[in-house]
Symmetry: C2
Subunit: 323 residues, 2 copies
């Protein structure tokens, strides 16, 4: 309370208390190898900084050095599960190790020029963002604002920016291959009606290949509606495990047996997949090691070295009892 009105301590305050110049404080606190400072002076500075509760001003530093050390990760519209959460955590960990500060920017609906302006204000070193949020003009703005690495995430490579390709088609393809290997021939694919999910669903469907497309909202009523479409179907790929669950509960109510009448493959290997009865066969995504590769990639771009974007994940099928 006694410090309410006092302004935050600066490096000059630290210098004054330590009896040295502000420059010396800066040299000490940044641990510059080429600065020759006595161990004694160093200790004085560190103790003064500690005593004052000094914290450097990121804005001032960014102003002077021309880069903020920030990496921006504007959140996608897609509600993300354990997988994406894990990836973000890994990414943060790797970036911190390299001295960057990762920030996930809140406004999900933000896109286009207005969003780009907001991002550019922070003068980040890099930004990783869903390509649907980018336009040619906004990429230009970001580049002009000094953002070294503008990296997209998208199911398909973008022409605007280097893109981390989240290839959805191989997920569908793997599901299709498995269903066919089980002798299923009358196939269908569930595609979500929900906005953020639909495009992903269509890509998974594309990879699946031939089969009846069934649009489904995440809602029991919607599932009830599409039930007749499954009359003549013996294998379904369900976009993801949650939609598979929705389908399975509806099928159970209708007395349709899984997998005897209809085999079902989900995707994403969510925790609930093992809890369903029958347990759900699903396409799992493996992202271990991805964050490190992405960070290496970012570092290259920031250095100006050309580099190839890494793959985001590998896929494999986990066979359980629903097929």
């Amino acid at each position: 309370m006694e410090t309410m009105t006092a302004r935050p301590p600066t490096s000059s305050d630290v210098a004054r208390l330590a009896g040295v110049s502000q420059a010396t404080v800066s040299y000490v606190l940044n641990n510059r190898a080429d600065s020759r400072v006595t161990e004694e002076t160093r200790a004085k500075v560190l103790s003064a900084a500690e005593k004052l509760g000094y914290v450097r001003h990121a804005g001032a530093r960014s102003l002077k050095t021309g880069n903020s050390g920030l990496v921006l990760l504007p959140l996608s519209d897609v509600p993300f599960g354990p997988l994406a959460t894990r990836f973000i955590e890994d990414l943060d960990h790797e970036l911190t190790a390299l001295g960057y500060t990762m920030i996930t920017y809140g406004a999900r609906q933000a896109r286009g020029m207005a969003a780009a302006r907001a991002w550019a204000e922070l003068r980040p070193a890099a930004i990783i963002v869903d390509t649907v949020k980018l336009t040619s003009a906004s990429v230009g703005l970001l580049r002009k604002a000094g953002v070294k690495a503008v990296v997209g995430i998208s199911p398909k490579p973008s022409t605007l920016v280097p893109t981390l390709v989240a290839d959805q088609t191989e997920i569908g393809a793997l599901a299709a291959r498995h269903l066919r290997s089980q002798g299923r021939r009358k196939l269908a694919v569930i595609v979500p009606r929900e906005d953020g999910l639909r495009d992903i669903g269509l890509d998974r469907r594309e990879g699946f290949g031939a089969g009846l497309q069934i649009d489904l909202a995440f809602d029991p009523a919607s599932a009830q509606e599409v039930l007749p479409l499954l009359r003549d179907i013996d294998g379904v790929f369900a976009y993801n495990d949650e939609y598979a669950m929705l389908l399975m509960s509806t099928l159970a109510d209708a007395g349709i047996r899984v997998p005897d009448d209809i085999a079902i493959v989900g995707a994403d290997d969510l925790p609930l997949a093992r809890l369903l009865r029958p347990q759900l066969t699903t396409v799992a995504l493996d992202i271990s090691g991805t964050a490190a590769a992405v960070v290496t990639f970012l570092a290259s771009l920031i250095d100006g070295t050309p580099a190839t974007p890494p793959r985001l994940w590998t896929t494999h099928l986990i066979e359980r009892s629903s097929t």
Copy 2:
């Protein structure tokens, strides 16, 4: 590509192109009411800024004005579902409307002094953070760094900072009341073994009152292990809907009927609650309006006006078929 080496345009660049002084540019772009600028000059400035792709430097602005307009929301260790996501989005929306920039800070495991220092570097106007990440010293550091509103989130009010109380006990209490009203007397409460979840679970258990506490990891094997404990139980409150699902699938395998043998109440009203068979009775949280109240509260603290933290949610029971 032609602008790769050029440094980002500054307000002085805009001024030069528009043929006015840098000060005029600043007055125009900040739309200051007390600044007297001709419509003609204003147009010249805006067009020059547009042409150059000018974006102001947030760091420099924060340096000059002494505040960054940032609101920090370091993510909690608790994996959050649709509810928390919705709250964060609402919060962002409200804060944007007031001219603040909300940032969700990545490092989940970050806490204590190191984290506080990282937060303080950005000189945010406010920070909302799980109180387990705070210490007396770190709160002091943040205050000293000029953070006007240091606000905690926690199941219990904190002595360190004004706290948004996420009261878990009323959830447990509501579940207990419902089970008793159904004539259930031999009650048990599921408490998660997982780190971030356990404390929340214990609070829900506390609100539940008398009953057997069963510690459960989110894993079918763990559920199998605790099954014998349910021999003499006729009503279970399951921490949340996901744990309820785990329990239900294990009970079904064991031939124990829900709700005939055991009634089950979940919490959080996750989408999957309606997809379980029987459909899951659950304690729902209502957070509509909370974000707006929180922002009002923050604004008060930033102004220096004393204010009382708002409630985070209200609860109500949704009765379905599992009880």
